[in-house]
């Protein structure tokens, strides 16, 4: 399997990353190379193998739904590119 510019433009859209005309050739060339590397996986038959999503066989713990964090609003909001009245401001979405 390989990848072409049309598919790259599709995944770039999914990833919300602009890929400019000038970047497109380089991106394609490098992604094609990486996918060829990944393709080596297809050499082995893994039909009967259980997928492994975690290095250790552990279960997720449950906890009480209590408030444990202190309020860091005063420290967090100034980090936003644009905040007013304790709200994050983005361009208008709904008319």
């Amino acid at each position: 399997m390989s990848i072409n510019k049309e598919e790259i433009s599709k995944i770039a859209h999914l990833a919300r990353i602009n890929v400019s005309q000038e970047e497109a050739d380089q991106v394609e060339k490098k992604l094609v190379g990486i996918l060829a590397l990944i393709e080596k996986m297809q050499e082995v038959d893994t039909d009967l193998i259980e997928p492994m999503s975690h290095a250790l066989n552990i279960n997720q713990r449950l906890r009480e739904d209590n408030v444990t964090e202190k309020d860091i609003r005063g420290k967090s909001l100034p980090l936003a590119p644009h905040a007013e009245n304790s709200l994050f401001i983005v361009p208008q979405v709904i008319e």
């Binding site: 990848i3 393709e39 290095a55 967090s76 644009h82 983005v90």
Partner: protein, 484 residues
Amino acid sequence: MLNLSLKEISQALERKKFTSVELTQFFLNRVKKHNPSLNAFITIDEARSLAMAEKSDQLIQSGKKSILTGIPIAQKDIFCADEWRTTCGSKMLENFISPYDATVIQKFNEVGAVNLGKTNMDEFAMGSSNETSYFGPVKNPWNLDCVPGGSSGGSASAVAARLAPAATGTDTGGSIRQPASLCGFTGLKPTYGLVSRYGMIAFASSLDQAGPMAISAEDCGLMLEVMTGHDNKDSTSIERKKENYTDSLNDEIKGLRIGVPKEFFEDGLNADVQKVIEEALIQYEKLGAKIVNISLPNNHLAIPAYYVIAPAEASSNLSRYDGVRYGYRTKEYDDLTEMYFKTRQEGFGDEVKRRILIGTYVLSAGYFDAYYLKAQKIRRLISDDFKVAYEKCDVIMGPSAPSTAFKSGEKQENPLAMYMQDIFTISTNLAGLPAMSIPAGFVDGLPVGLQLIGNHFEEAKILNAAHIFQKNTDWHLHSPKGID
């Protein structure tokens, strides 16, 4: 104060030979002198570090001292530290002042260690040469034309040049061990889940693990004792009794079975590096260990599987950088969609964008089974290889990296050649095993690292094996010339 072990520094502080403020100032002066050429630190905050040192001196005065109290530690800039700029090597977080402490940082603070500054790294820890940092490449103190390795390249350069007594790093596919190898010091990646990932900026969550970078195995053990422990704030943190890693350092290694995987000595390993590794293994035999030939037959599939799993997880983790709540936002945009697209185009570097795109691709409809599920199955095969191997041996040894430090720029335009740097380290991340790199010799004046891989939770065993080697050799005590 230079070239002292952490234990020696600790004793000197206790005996009032110098204060933490004096010690911290000494290392800050070294940082200020050498950072212009090495670029090991992204952020230095002299006043803040010295204020921490003053507090530590008070702790020492009042007799409330533990082993790392008053010792300055360089922190990889992937760890959020309250009120410190925390960039992760990215333009995206260029002006991010963390509003909280990562658990690792908090643990060092609790024992009164001093934060010496935030070290440079590959952007979002994606790289093996520390050339993808938005804040410029880091240089290897053994040869300024060479890379220090990555992604923990700033911490590596700082420890090797003795700009800090010790540092922290993180290792997703080799980011502690490969730079430790290329810069000639001791680095350890613990078992997955042993050190909390809370506040450690996420790259690939099922693989990321923080660990110590220092001169010796003993130093790493002392740091590990501070860094480990169960944390409610990290759902993958292991619930396990906290262990002591230094009591068994001097245990005999007679009869220790060292598994040597033949796959680590095949294609891609530099012949001179191989000689150094073989000599180190002979040294181990002289110390009473036994060499056992083993095989990790699926090791060649580790890099392909990793370059599915890690980018997949990264593409999800990095979706949070959208220019809304924190971080970079593009200057000109007409609507929300354009804001997202341009923010991410301008805020991320090329390697990060490549990995996000790959990750998005392998998770997208129609490709999930062929790539992501397949990679997870191969991950199982790789993990099972280790299980079989550990029936025949106690530790596994081999090279940490396929070569010594390479020239800056040499692999920058060739991602595939760069990815091969981690050919001996990635499989242990996939299997979640603890592993370290220790200095084992030199090739043309550049250090070579020996890798020691333990079974799950056997940090004490590999630290013991490393310490015995370091008691009988002095490779770890060499430091680069010209960094006065």
